[in-house]
């Protein structure tokens, strides 16, 4: 193959082009805000607030402390739930990978639970654990744990026989085998599930705030909706969107970090 494989020429000038691209993206955002504003102005205030009103509402609920309090409460719930999901998913995934009986026995049930809309189980959880923080954390964890667990299981199962053989030939104990081989090898795989876990945990967070004790951002949305205060509803939705985008970006960064590591294995 000739070295010059340039039938798809690279962009000549990178800076102007990405600047131009940035401008197009900005124009897209501006157009979106403009359309939002227009729709808002030509519909009833009780159904759709214009962009400007939404921004004003956002400012007022920030100043009043409503939004910061809700955000804090929601993030606590999200963090606790996701944290448990990570730990439980990782540990159970490893156990399933190493203990064949458990894996063969539980795999179909795990896949089934993964496919079940967790939302439908909330009433059941309510009856077992009540509707306060503890129950809500359980809901968030139940939403977020599956991608972590399944990716960990897959990763731990792909630890190559060669690596295990090396460890064994150095007379590694089972505990050391875990510490030096299995855990570090599996972690990057676990992290490929982190973005999905974040997305699902966010859904779990809102779901539990809707259906169990109303708190946080979910509570804001429900309360404002009941008051037909669309400007504030949209402000809250906007906050959730931005929050979700940031969290996903963090998730992507984590995935990329571990992916680079994985590529070196």
């Amino acid at each position: 193959m000739s070295a010059v494989q340039a039938h798809e020429p690279k962009p000549r000038m990178i800076v102007p082009q990405s600047l131009q691209g940035g401008l197009v993206s900005l124009a897209g955002l501006a157009a979106g805000a403009g359309i939002w504003e227009l729709i808002g102005r030509h519909t009833q205030a009780s159904s759709f607030a214009p962009f400007s009103e939404t921004v004003k509402a956002l400012w007022s609920i920030t100043k009043s402390g409503e939004l910061p309090r809700a955000l804090e409460s929601s993030l606590q719930l999200f963090g606790a739930g996701l944290g448990f999901a990570l730990v439980i998913g990782f540990v159970v995934g490893l156990l399933l990978a190493r203990i064949r009986l458990l894996r063969v026995g539980l795999e179909p049930y795990i896949l089934m639970l993964y496919a079940t809309p967790m939302f439908a189980l909330i009433p059941f959880i309510l009856s077992l654990f009540g509707f306060e923080f503890r129950a809500k954390v359980i809901v968030v964890t139940l939403f977020g744990v599956w991608p972590i667990l399944i990716n960990t299981l897959e990763g731990a199962r792909s630890v190559s026989a060669d690596l295990l053989e090396v460890a064994r030939s150095y007379r590694s104990t089972e505990a050391k085998l875990w510490r030096h081989v299995i855990v570090p090898y599996t972690l990057p795989y676990t992290m490929t599930g982190v973005r999905q876990a974040i997305a699902r945990s966010l859904v779990g967070m809102l779901a539990s705030e809707y259906l169990l004790a109303a708190t946080g951002l979910g509570n804001l949305i429900l309360t404002y909706t009941n008051r037909f205060d669309t400007a504030r509803v949209l402000a809250a939705v906007l906050v959730i969107t931005v929050l979700a985008t940031i969290l996903m970006a963090i998730g992507r960064a984590i995935e990329n970090y571990f992916a680079r590591w994985k590529a070196g294995v």
Partner: protein
Amino acid sequence: MSTEGVRIRIAGVGKEFGALRVFQNIDLEIGEREIVSIVGPSGCGKTTLLRCIDGLVKPTEGEIRIDGTAVTGPPRGVAVVFQHFGLFPWKTVYENVAYGLRLAKAPKEHIRESVPRHIELVGLKGFEKAYPYQLSGGMQQRTGLARALATDPHVLLMDEPFASIDAQTREILQFELLRIWESRPMSMVFVTHSIEEAVLMGDRVVVLRGRPSSVHEVIETGLPRPRTRDVLSSPRFNEVRDHVWSRLMHEAEQAERELQEVR
């Protein structure tokens, strides 16, 4: 140069990618029933030159004419066989071979007649319904060849077609291609990095050299057609091969020396 009319006329063609000048001042004429091989060190732009002939890449200077018409995009009647095969994994052998005809909106009866004929021609009868993943590399390139031939081209551009195929299969395919060409001679440009292949296929061998590269020498192989396996052991074949080899070797040594000077 054969006595027949000229099919492809390459005049003063050069190509730059940004600051990198790949080749320049290429002048070449290829006859209607002629096979011209192009060899050169890797990076000399022989594959890019081929893409220029097919209009996939625009030369920065000069002009290429096929049958007197300047090439601006992929011309009618020109088909390429790619090193990467370029088979679509979601299509069967039949559908892959039919691809060019379908895009050209050929009549259905013509497709129904032509596709099986060309599948048979390349020796793939019985594999019409197979998917590319079910075929060996050699069979995949047979499919690629059938796809190109099915469009009834009068120019066939071969882009290192057998480079990623194992040696034994490659030799079989080379002679089959020669056999097919004998039955329907056309103008063929054969880009390869294998000197043996270049000499075996070509009426002439074009050696690209230099940086940016240009035509260093055009060698008439003077080997008889139809070519059979006997050609490989003929004195003339060895003579031409050694000649081309020395041309390229010289270049490689020079490049090596330049590198050392830089260091």
